[in-house]
Symmetry: C2
Subunit: 479 residues, 2 copies
Amino acid sequence: MWSPDRNSGTTLYMQIAEHLAQKIRCGEFPPGSGLPSERKLAGQLGVNRSTVVLAFSELRSIGLIESRSGSGTRVSLADSEETPKHTPNWSQYADDSSMVRNPPFLRKISEALQQNPELIDMASGQLSGDLAPTQEIAEIMSQNRPMSYLGYDNPQGYPPLREALVRYLNRHRGIDTTESSLLITSGSQQSLYLIIRCLLSPGDAVAIEDPSYCFSLPMFQTAGLRVFRLPLDQHGVQPEDIRQLYKKHRIKMVFLNPNYQNPTGTLLSEERRRKVLDIASELALPIIEDDPYSLTAYDGEPPAPLKALDTTGSVIYIGSFSKIAASGLRIGWMAAPRAIVERLADARQQMDFGLSVIPQQVVATFLDSPQFVPHLERLRRELQFKRDMVTAALRREFQGRAEFLEPRGGIHLWCKIGADYNENRLLEQSIRNGFVFGPGSVYGSEPGCLRLTFGRANAGDIDRGIAALREAAEKLDLF
Amino acid sequence: MWSPDRNSGTTLYMQIAEHLAQKIRCGEFPPGSGLPSERKLAGQLGVNRSTVVLAFSELRSIGLIESRSGSGTRVSLADSEETPKHTPNWSQYADDSSMVRNPPFLRKISEALQQNPELIDMASGQLSGDLAPTQEIAEIMSQNRPMSYLGYDNPQGYPPLREALVRYLNRHRGIDTTESSLLITSGSQQSLYLIIRCLLSPGDAVAIEDPSYCFSLPMFQTAGLRVFRLPLDQHGVQPEDIRQLYKKHRIKMVFLNPNYQNPTGTLLSEERRRKVLDIASELALPIIEDDPYSLTAYDGEPPAPLKALDTTGSVIYIGSFSKIAASGLRIGWMAAPRAIVERLADARQQMDFGLSVIPQQVVATFLDSPQFVPHLERLRRELQFKRDMVTAALRREFQGRAEFLEPRGGIHLWCKIGADYNENRLLEQSIRNGFVFGPGSVYGSEPGCLRLTFGRANAGDIDRGIAALREAAEKLDLF
Ligand SMILES: Cc1ncc(COP(=O)(O)O)c(C=O)c1O
Ligand SMILES: Cc1ncc(COP(=O)(O)O)c(C=O)c1O
């Protein structure tokens, strides 16, 4: 007898729905006939009853079956026409996609968080509500005069925001740029997507950090790129590795996150920054500098970005307000040669026609407001405080059995507990204990590591969270 | 001697910049040497001086050359190192892209509008500022309490907006759906992009209307699809054509814009709607119903959408607030089988991580507010008034030499003037006369037609605009 395939990319309920739909279409269950009860079917197929409930509801939503209370579920009566009716094989359409899916762990985590909002969240890469300038944003919104014209945005982004960003980049990052070299994007995510999809072609080789930002990995795969790794030590990537990859594989681009890297929290040393730029200009190799975290430097003095040191024009700089204000603003940008900005702006028109002007206006006002710098100062203090809480809790709970580097900025801490463990089991046990973290494999790393994001959790929950993690590790006999 | 290629996809100034950069790198202009003056170079290359100015500024922005007032432009001195420095060949990266560019006419129009904001704009597919609910939106923004949490959005979109949309679709479009079958997108544009990129594969065949929405055409090409056409008459597409295309080419999807179609303004007749659905269900063929205009029906009674008549689940329905509220909100949505919505939500995370919550909250509030229906009523009245102005002006100015169908909703009028004419010359002459329109070829149509969008132009300018068009046509001896 048929049973669903638990290793398939398609959810169980969709497999069951599709299976039943086929039986209905081929006449095994003719119009008007009754279907087995949810309970019975669940038993036959070896799945939870709730899975069958979902499958039935999918079939109901496309009109293939009908349920009446009391009389169970039956196949809908076909209209009186001769030609049989078919629903498109939607799950086939969904499965045929060349878009690589996000790692199952990420889905598992987000489902766990949706089911239980009380979970202590050290998995999500964002700020907690109290760290975001919610009040400042609400004030700006309430004071703003109506926009005179709320039409499609300029393809490169709202001009007053680009003007404010030119000032911001000059003042806070030492980067000299112009409005026409800036493209406003839906966070760094969209900047990365545009670069990967529009400037590279299938088969091209690129270099990325190892480990690296989880939501960029499927993008590289979908684009058909050959991805090579630059291992990180405590001072970031080794510049000579870039040259080696170029020699061997003719890499066409290097993606770096030099400041308080996601997931490791490391900072690329000043010396290596200069070396990376030398090698890039020697090889005419573009560097993509993804820099969402630099302004969280706890001592208030982030190192100069590659872009500010770049004299040959090798660097595309990507920034974002997600980690220094609020990820729900969806405002990021890139500073790039004009030819690139124009190209990507044109491509972006076809994807989404640009961003809403409303959050862009809010951010432009916030950037130039007297509230901006005090907000940053508070953010840094609070993040440092949370960092101290996590490291103290790790020392207390794990007694030296957790190795980690103390980050000096950012929101992530990378931690090694036990050499090798079953990530899935540790995650599941943690979730049962009320805690979620980022399993190392999601970032493409070797086993045994995990990412603890202290930006998102409330300070008051951190101790309990780390204790829950330790309990989970003990339960699995990790030590 | 080298000269730029006017038929290349790369702009003249970028070609010149790249050419000079090569000469500099290969040592023809060594570090510190002077470059020819802008005027001289312009003469040699046969281009405007302003083109050379742009090329120089590109080279300056990447540090390759330096200009000092008085002493002209010279090649930057290399640092004292041995290895020569190279800028990545950025324009090569921009050109290698597999993303098809938007038609040059669209760029020409948007440049003309940027250069001269006084142009009477019957080219842009959007509403004029006075038709958008700017005041209502400003009021909602000023009354809103701060968001408690401004984090990354739910992957399918802000839940309260999806709840409001379920009510909206039921009330205004007769569509029964659920929050979990809805995906909020950055306008219909992103819905189309997601469907085209994530549910279809290169080589797949699809059917689209002829003519059709200009910003969707390059998307189909970029995705490597084989595109087949469904010619329109005054009642929309011929359903039997769909079957023929399926037989011949195994089309995998049909894209329709049944209500007040862009660009023709036609309405798919009720009879044909049912026929289209019969054929779709017979062939298990998905229909993508792109419906941004239906609520502009001047008589307030838009026909039922395909989605509302669809009993087999063949239709993905796409909607937007761009044409009934403001395109700068960037709020659209699709109603689709859950398997599709989940698939596309996952893919969208990788592209841009979802929309800003702020405009979603604004739209959710507006939808449920007592201002929404009065706004729609006013919009319809004003659009009908503008439609009447355009048709009257066309009759007066063109005296029967302009053929058109009177649209009963929407913002576009499709018009045939003269059998065959040089679109580029007509557009340029019109721009000189202070008027822009949409040249027919942009919509993939046969020559001789143009799109006049009366939604965007101010009512007071329509007469003058159509007169300017007539003068341009006369100047070119079109009649
Ligand atoms: C290194 C890095 N790049 C990009 C992003 C995407 O962030 P956003 O699109 O919100 O700016 C993140 C988010 O975690 C990140 O850590
Ligand atoms: C038929 C059609 N589809 C989609 C769009 C895209 O509009 P938006 O993304 O603003 O909803 C338009 C805009 O003109 C259109 O006419």
